[in-house]
């Protein structure tokens, strides 16, 4: 199902693409970065844990922003450059190629989160120390993995249609809202909760906050619960993405739309 060799090669290729022209990270990270900075200005009178809350949430937004742009576009660029057909005739499964790329993009998202922390610490003098560093690191990497998997799902749709970009750009802001990254989920309307709970980013953000703050557990699930739910939603999305790739690859070949840009 997964070709580790193809994944590794795709990750390496994606990293080379990035280092050749690193400016392309800016469109992916600018929105969450500005959103977090605005949030910090709005929270400035509150101080203490609330500011760190905003910073952590901003980190999650940053990772998400990068994932939705870079990962969903990973196939979009192949379509644009005319290399999608070449990739599809290689023996490596397309899902493994895209997963490798998504892992690199998720790693870049981590750098984005790091940039948010650095600005928060130096420009806003916020203490970014966390209560449980080990739990925090585990939560961070699990969140990144979950976002990479979500990026795979978006990438799959690009195999079928070039209009996917509009659809996924449309999803960027709803997920900023629904993940409750910079405010508690309880302030969202009741009807939105199922959508929030279906997102790995919600549980990832919750795990990060639980590991960072003393006594924080807004959904009463504890760190193991939040980590478990992040892992569970990640696995579910991974399985969905494999099914999607199989189905959509077949559909794109039947429709003959691979080279259409």
């Amino acid at each position: 199902m997964i070709s580790l060799r193809a994944m590794k090669a795709a990750l390496k290729q994606q990293s080379i693409h990035f280092f050749v022209d690193p400016q392309w990270i800016i469109p992916s990270i600018i929105a969450p970065f500005i959103f977090t900075t605005v949030t910090l200005f709005l929270f400035r009178h509150a101080g203490g844990d609330l500011l760190l809350y905003a910073v952590l949430g901003g980190g999650v937004l940053g990772m998400w922003g990068n994932t939705i742009h870079s990962s969903s576009w990973s196939i979009g660029y192949d379509r644009m450059n005319g290399t999608l057909e070449s990739i599809m005739v290689t023996p490596a499964p397309l899902s493994s190629v895209v997963f490798g790329r998504c892992l690199w993009n998720a790693f870049l998202g981590l750098l984005n989160a790091l940039a948010v922390f650095i600005v928060a610490h130096f420009a806003f003098a916020i203490d970014v120390s966390v209560r449980d560093p080990l739990g925090f690191v585990v939560a961070l990497f699990l969140t990144l993995l979950s976002l990479a998997v979500l990026g795979m799902i978006f990438g799959a749709f690009y195999v079928v249609t070039r209009a996917s970009s509009a659809f996924f750009q449309m999803l960027e802001f709803p997920i900023y809202v629904l993940s409750g990254a910079v405010f508690p989920l309880v302030i969202l309307p009741e009807w939105t909760r199922p959508f929030s709970y279906a997102l790995p980013a919600t549980w990832g953000a919750e795990a990060l906050k639980i590991s960072a703050f003393t006594g924080y557990d807004s959904l009463s699930i504890g760190l193991p619960g939040a980590l478990g739910l992040t892992a569970l939603t990640t696995i579910v999305y991974l399985l969905i993405s494999f099914q999607l790739f199989t189905y959509l690859e077949k559909r794109a070949k039947v429709n003959g739309t691979l080279v259409r840009y």
């Binding site: 605005v38 929270f43 009178h45 609330l50 509009a166 910079v182």
Partner: protein, 264 residues
């Protein structure tokens, strides 16, 4: 002169016709409305949670409604040059008798229409979903303020778009300017919250005056009350169009000289 006007008109029509070449009308409409609504909702929730009396949810909703103009009036306009490079039509545009500036001005006219539609819908969202009271606003004054804001912002977008003629893409610059307004232009919190050294930068953006004028009109301000802000915006706008003209000429020559016109 007549040739330039025909060029602007033709470019506007081409922009309208090519709008739905990739993304269908329904998805396009959903995209611009959802982006505007969810961005507004995000900041309303943040301000609600933060509880800052200087930046109430109503204040934030109204600011974001006006800022929704940025997507078309600045980002859409400045992306035009990048998009032409992207699809390999920049050299074709240069081979036409119309100066490049007028071609992109035509695209700006079309983006203005989209921007005005977006901001109207955003104001409706702000009023219906977030309780922004616009009952005291005079419709004519509000429309005049939005028109002048849009005019001025398109000029600003053209300046950035001109750089895209020379650079590999205008997307990076466009992305930065798109969101910078949310931070610098009094959209989500008063400009006085910003550090002293940043505040002068806020007044270089036409959006700052547009947001302030709409806030005044929303509480019953007349055309006379906002005339100062409108004159400033008009002056900034005219200066931007003139600067964009010269910048387009400059970057066009530079791109030809360096052979970077089709580099993407």
């Amino acid at each position: 002169m007549l040739r330039d006007i025909v060029g602007v008109k033709a470019s506007t029509l081409v922009a309208m016709r090519s709008q739905f070449a990739v993304v269908g009308p329904t998805l396009w409409l959903m995209q611009i409305l959802a982006t505007s609504l969810f961005q507004m909702w995000f900041f309303v929730l943040v301000s609600d949670f933060a509880g800052d009396p200087g930046a109430s949810p109503g204040y934030v909703a109204l600011g974001n409604a006006v800022a929704s103009l940025t997507y078309a009036a600045i980002y859409g306009v400045c992306m035009s040059s990048g998009a032409e490079k992207h699809i390999g039509t920049m050299a074709t545009i240069m081979s036409t008798p119309t100066r490049m500036y007028y071609v992109f001005l035509g695209k700006g006219v079309y983006q203005s229409l989209i921007g005005l539609f977006t901001v109207s819908m955003s104001l409706l969202f702000a009023s219906v979903f977030f309780g922004v009271d616009l009952s005291a606003a005079e419709p004519f004054t509000l429309a005049a303020v939005l028109l002048v804001t849009c005019f001025s912002m398109v000029g600003f977008g053209l300046i950035i778009g001109s750089i895209g003629v020379y650079l590999r893409s205008s997307m990076v610059l466009g992305s930065i300017v798109l969101y910078l307004g949310l931070l610098l232009c009094g959209v989500n919190f008063p400009i006085s919250y910003l550090p002293d050294w940043v505040q002068p930068l806020s007044y270089a953006f036409p959006l700052t005056y547009g947001v302030e004028a709409v806030r005044e009109v929303a509480v019953g301000g007349s055309l006379g009350d906002v005339s100062g802000l409108m004159v400033t915006m008009l002056a900034l706008g005219i200066a931007a169009y003139v600067a964009a003209y010269f910048l387009f000429c400059y970057f066009e020559k530079l791109a030809l000289k360096n052979g970077s016109l089709d580099v993407f």
